[in-house]
């Protein structure tokens, strides 16, 4: 019989473990997340402004290339390049959130090796910290976009209140993937090399630069294999076009995202005992 027991432990692989890992460590997750965000801007003269600068710059480049040079148009689009910019930007917010979660997962454990061997540390909480830290950028960018919409249109659609609800399953999804990547990357460093190309594929095989309807119907299913496609569509509906979320699709996506997070959590728990031998 092999085992390490303390008298207060709860069931390891229970589905609720996904959330228990947050609730039990909420104070820790809060402190680390706050600190991660602060560190990102510490010492930079322009501070938080940098989190605005990069997306706006990328937005300008993409708008010029795809809107002006390639002249891609959305069906819903009525205005010119300024409206195209909002469509592009809303998609990019979602994609950069997801890819940032993936990128930061690769070294999540190996960068925190002091937490692996020398401290009794709830390592599973680190994935929560990663996805919540990345959420900060989403908040800033969304704020910028909403401000822009308010200036251009003079009003915001009431459906923006659905944004957090639409994002919730994406977070769960990112969380599950983060657990899987961070734990397997401890054993297989090669995974880090894969994440870059994968995020690039996710960017182009998604309705970010072009609408789903603009590609041949036999290839459209490819876009729906991309976990962010559905979220990008719904975010645009809510933010730009005043449409409420499609409820059946939402529930399917939520269940799917929850399953991914549960699998991720179980994989992480399974691989966790070996971390200290490898890092």
């Amino acid at each position: 019989m092999t085992g390490y027991r303390t008298k207060t432990e709860v069931s390891e692989y229970a589905a609720l473990g996904v959330f228990i890992s947050l609730i039990e460590n909420r104070s820790l997750v809060y402190q680390l997340t706050r600190r991660n965000i602060a560190i990102r801007f510490r010492g930079a003269a322009l501070g938080v402004l940098w989190s605005l600068f990069t997306p706006i710059l990328m937005l300008a480049v993409y708008t010029f290339v795809f809107g002006t040079i390639l002249e891609i148009r959305w069906i819903e689009q009525k205005g010119g390049n300024l409206e195209f910019a909002t469509i592009l930007f809303s998609g990019l917010i979602i994609h950069s959130y997801f890819s940032e979660c993936l990128q930061s997962s690769v070294q999540l454990i190996t960068d925190n090796r002091q937490y692996v061997k020398k401290v009794v540390f709830p390592l599973e909480a680190l994935a929560w910290v990663a996805i919540l830290t990345s959420l900060f950028q989403v908040a800033v960018s969304t704020g910028v976009l909403l401000l822009y919409l308010l200036l251009v249109q003079g009003a915001l659609s009431w459906t923006i209140i659905f944004l957090p609800i639409i994002l919730a399953p994406l977070m769960l999804f990112a969380l599950g993937i983060s657990w899987i990547i961070s734990s397997t990357a401890v054993y297989l460093r090669d995974i880090g090399q894969l994440v870059g190309p994968i995020t690039l594929i996710l960017l182009f095989v998604s309705p970010i630069f072009y609408p789903v309807s603009s590609i041949p119907s036999e290839f459209q299913f490819l876009l729906y294999l991309n976990p962010i496609t559905w979220v990008v569509d719904q975010v645009r509906n809510a933010m730009l076009w005043g449409l409420t979320p499609y409820i059946q699709g939402y529930l399917v996506y939520l269940v799917f995202a929850f399953l991914v997070s549960w699998i991720g959590f179980s994989v992480f728990k399974k691989l966790r005992p070996g971390f200290s031998d490898v890092v």
Binding site: T2, Y4, T6, E24, N25, S27, K117, V120
Partner: protein
Amino acid sequence: MSSEQVVRVRGLGKCYRIYKRPIDRLREFLSPRNQTYHHPFWALDDVTFNVKKGETLGLIGPNGSGKSTLLEILCGTVTATRGEVVVDGRIAALLELGAGFNPEFTGRENVFLNAAIQRIPKDTTEKRLDEIVAFSGIGEFLDRPVKTYSSGMYVRLAFASAIGMNPDILIVDEALAVGDIRFQRKCYRHFNELQARGTTILFVTHAVELIRAHCDRAILLNNGRIESIGSPAEVIHSYLELMFAPDSRRSDVQEIVEIPNQRNRDSTLSGDDSCLDRNTYNPDEYRWGNRHAEITDFVFMTKHGKDPMFLESRESIELHMKNQFNKNMEGLIYGLTIRTVDGVMVFGANTRDRAMKMRNHKKGEVTEIIFRFDLNLLPGEYFLSLGIAQDDDTVDNLAIDRRYDLSHFTVQGDQNDLGFSALNMQIGESIDPTLGGART
């Protein structure tokens, strides 16, 4: 209640897989027929022990004996390969200097972070913060990033925040060695307070004195196995045997005998050991060395006579040590030490450090070394160790016959002073307060 076992370890083993090349790990991982590409290395093997609530347990052993691995498994940071560990209670661990401290965070933030790791509510931490800061003596550095701290400050804050949270079990790996002496003393003093509160303490050290002074029990680990477990005195003896005996085994001399435990003396080695008949002889002495020469007798000579039951404080003494040579020998060194019951050295001297060239001896010769001194010790219990050693090119100083704690003697006297040195102090009072400066 007090006999409750809070840590139970059964048949614990930890095997590390050693791969020659990183690719071997992958090959083994992908191997369809479970072929192995590693060499197993057992850092711990079949370790079994219990720790009672409120007990202080010391872990001692040579480098690489598995002490740290054992502590890491107890903390739950490293997973055992086999066996079982049951820990009942909240553990606070100081496994490495400043581990768990985030260098970018300030001291204050790190205290809260550490508490959060242990799932201690924020308001509890706030209540204890003043106490922690006071104990660490960190002062205004509390609000600076810990990367600006000295290593001493680091460990002070780490220790203070670990014990400040009232853990049930405190685990300390040599981390404290970094603090200055004043802080170390403060920590070890605090151990007593923790013990009184019922905290169970496990600590690793190389300092025999600390084991003797603070532990209820001790464990000696060697090559991942428990070599000895029991009272601090027994375990320290085994440790000293382990640390010093292999040295003499390693030298090229062929006739080296296994170090017989004093209690089952090998009588073929020598004639009589008259030490045993002396009034102050300590049956728990620890003896080691290759026995090319032997200490066959010792005696205290005082003005009250030979081999008295008690010694008088501040009397003049001659200590005679009788040696028998079983080989032709040169480069001889003789020495003695006197220690307190806590293992603190009161006095030590040897002929090499005094640059004395001692005679060479032939096989069969018997000689006597005489130590003449004033016993300027306060009344109390003391241990005397005697030893013969030899200058040796390979091992610096080769133990010939060392008798550790050979004699347990009592010093009598009418002083009620504290400490152990008899300074012959007079205390008076003057009504003319000039602080000795009257005569200019």
